[in-house]
């Protein structure tokens, strides 16, 4: 077992799934010769050849749309959209087709497709390279949404996504690509989609987060007796784990990187209010980015929820 970063872990998952199953294909912009702009697909073209690792035209809807056709025909395509900010050209393909093909054809055709895309802020990129609009996708019936928070979970979740019989949007927090090194088992393994991970155990409150924000949530909760839950999957999400924890602690703080209004934290907060309000000792609290267009790099740090904001919210919840 070696300590690797998320890029290497994702690469390992792709390589192993492609080795195990000749139906797995990779396609997207710059995924072949260049190995992906973040190098996630590095070496795959050399190993598996141009028929299985396809550099495509600059064509988001074409990439996802063609991947739908490939999936329906029996392949397991892993399509890359270079940045989540460019996914909207393919939004219709995901919302109107990938997510509905099984239902529309009453099971005759299905869409075992993975769309991988780097997302989230914190890398000081130009405009529209940093948003996190996961809630827009989690709202679509028939589409799964997965967000790893580190190298080990990235590898296991991507393997699950590739083997999943339904379409999965796999969001890779760009800030985490090279930030953390972690022991990642060499052999293939999966982490089930729809299951959360208890990142830290405690009794006084529950902090819920995913992706890049999980690390700030953990930092903020360092000196507290808190459960910190890494959701890992947003659709479906692990309501059982969250409810069990909240019923135990009586307090819930949800941390997301996206703007507050209609973010995924709102879904979690509403479900807690429906199922666990009788156990609550404090109002459910959300820590989120502001309802503004994500600023360019010089103001980016003021936009992303800071550890101190999370800690202040935890203190606020503990006052009750």
């Amino acid at each position: 077992m070696a300590a690797v970063n998320m890029v290497a872990a994702l690469n390992m998952a792709l390589r192993q799934e492609m080795e195990a199953n000749p139906s797995v294909l990779v396609l997207g912009e710059d995924v072949g010769v260049n190995g992906g702009v973040f190098r996630v697909t590095e070496g795959l073209l050399e190993k598996f050849g141009g028929e299985r690792v396809m550099d495509t035209p600059l064509s988001e809807s074409g990439i996802v749309g063609a991947a739908i056709g490939m999936a329906a025909y029996g392949f397991l395509p892993v399509a890359e959209i270079q940045f989540m900010g460019f996914i909207y050209g393919a939004f219709e393909q995901l919302a109107s087709h990938a997510s509905r093909l099984r239902a529309r054809s009453r099971g005759r055709f299905s869409c075992p497709l993975v769309v991988r895309t780097p997302y989230g802020a914190g890398i000081k990129a130009i405009e529209l390279h940093s948003e996190s609009t996961e809630a827009m996708f989690a709202h679509i019936p028939g589409l799964k949404v997965v967000v790893p928070s580190g190298p080990a979970s990235a590898k296991g979740l991507l393997a699950s996504a590739i083997r999943d019989p339904d379409p999965v949007l796999f969001l890779e927090p760009t800030r985490l690509y090279r930030m953390i090194r972690e022991e990642v088992p060499e052999e293939p393994y999966t982490i089930p989609i729809g299951r959360a991970r208890m990142a830290k155990k405690g009794r006084d409150l529950t902090v819920i987060s995913w992706g890049s924000m999980l690390h700030r949530a953990l930092k903020a909760a360092e000196n507290y007796d808190a459960d910190v839950i890494d959701l890992q999957s947003l659709k479906p999400w692990d309501e059982e784990a969250v409810m069990a924890s909240v019923k135990k602690t009586g307090r819930a703080v949800i941390v997301q990187e996206a703007p507050k209004t209609c973010g995924f934290a709102s879904e979690v907060a509403a479900a807690i209010a429906e199922e666990a309000i009788a156990w609550l000792r404090a109002p459910i609290m959300r820590v989120a980015a502001y309802d503004v267009a994500l600023p360019l790099p010089r103001l980016e740090d003021f936009y992303i929820p800071k550890t101190v904001r999370i800690r202040n919210t935890i203190d606020e919840a503990l006052k009750y």
Binding site: G62, A66, G69, M70, G107, R108, D166, P236
Partner: protein, 356 residues
């Protein structure tokens, strides 16, 4: 230094059968008498279905329906050029394609009555479900075609759309990708001149739609879309080329939507009656029938037999749809995912308990 022409193009139009039913023998596709009757029978059933669907809709027994009247040759003759192993990607105005492909007629009634089960394609056919958002299914056909190529299968994808679709982004992305990957796909545009109320002149400033293929590095041809022989020949050649590794083709079938856009539309609001009359004179069925009469392929008896058979087919299909009845409400929960999520399971239990 010099300024020189580095590329020139030409766009061909294929016409074989004229309005009076005379065929250009030199251009005739290879079709036996049986093959010609097959096309005619498919077109006749497609028209009979169309008429029946319109009257059932008026009686409130079917939902909104998109008529194919006038487009029977473009649909039936092209779909009959396909093999069973080919994959067909229809838009929402493709009854003739479904019928030619052998799609169960009662399922077409089911679909237009608002029952998803109508789009459950039988296992021995490869017809993708109807695509409602215009042009967004073109990339699917390209992807399936690339998949066929990867599997080294001698198959092709055939995708249907209208003139309005050529204005959209997915048309461009699909054509472009098909060209780059030399995908075995045949793009068939039924240029029926109208996208609801918007005429072709508001979709494009180009002289033809066929020429658009040239910019993507493959051939485009315009066929008289009301001429079953021209359509059959163009589609057969394009499918053969695709299966043999020659890459994509584009066929613009110039035709006309005789009916309203759908049963929810009134085309008299936006188009001149004279134009409709002009195109009625070019009726694809009448043309093929005249030809067959002249060639001794069609007798009054045969025509009567066919009409009777079609009536029985449609009666039986509609009865079958009614016998099956509406889908059980629980059907709505099926097929979102292969395995329902925990939340869906809770929703299903609550629904089954009468919680609504």
């Amino acid at each position: 230094m010099a300024e020189k022409t580095i590329e020139t193009f030409e766009v061909k139009r294929l016409e074989i059968l004229d309005d009076e039913g005379n065929a250009d023998k030199a251009l005739m596709p290879s079709l036996t008498a049986g093959g010609i009757r097959n096309i005619y029978e498919g077109m006749l059933l497609a028209r009979a279905f169309d008429e029946r669907a319109l009257s059932l809709q008026r009686e409130g027994r079917l939902g909104t329906y998109a008529s194919i009247r006038g487009q029977e040759a473009a649909q039936v003759a092209s779909a009959l050029a396909a093999e069973k192993s080919d994959w067909i990607f229809p838009s929402f105005r493709e009854t003739g394609v479904h019928i030619a492909a052998g799609y169960p007629v009662h399922q077409l009634f089911q679909y237009w009555s608002g029952d998803e089960r109508g789009m459950r394609c039988p296992d021995d056919l490869n017809v993708f479900p109807v695509c409602i958002p215009v042009s967004t299914h073109l990339p699917h056909a390209v992807g399936a075609a690339i998949a066929m190529k990867l599997k080294k299968q001698k198959s092709a994808a055939i995708v249907y759309f209208g003139d309005g679709a050529t204005s959209k982004g997915d048309f461009h992305e699909a054509f472009n990708m098909a060209g780059v990957f030399r995908a075995p796909v045949v793009f068939i545009c039924q240029n029926n001149q109208w996208a609801i109320s918007v005429p072709l002149s508001r979709q494009t400033a180009a002289k033809t739609l066929a020429q658009k293929a040239l910019a993507y590095g493959f051939s485009g041809i315009q066929a008289d879309g009301n001429d079953a022989f021209a359509v059959y020949r163009a589609a057969s050649e394009a499918l053969y080329k695709a299966r043999e590794g020659g890459g994509p083709s584009f066929i613009e079938c110039q035709t006309y939507r005789i009916s309203d856009h759908t049963t929810a539309d009134d085309s008299s609001r936006y188009r001149p009656a004279g134009e409709v009359e002009y195109w009625k004179a070019k009726d694809p069925l009448k043309r093929l029938k005249s030809y067959m009469e002249k060639e001794g392929l069609l007798t009054e008896d045969y025509q009567k037999q066919l009409e009777g058979k079609n009536e029985r087919t449609l009666d039986e299909a509609f009865r079958e749809m009614e016998r099956i009845g509406p889908p059980p409400p629980s059907e709505m929960f099926a097929y979102t995912f292969r395995q329902p999520s925990r939340r869906q399971e809770i929703e299903m239990r609550s629904f089954a308990d009468g919680g609504g």
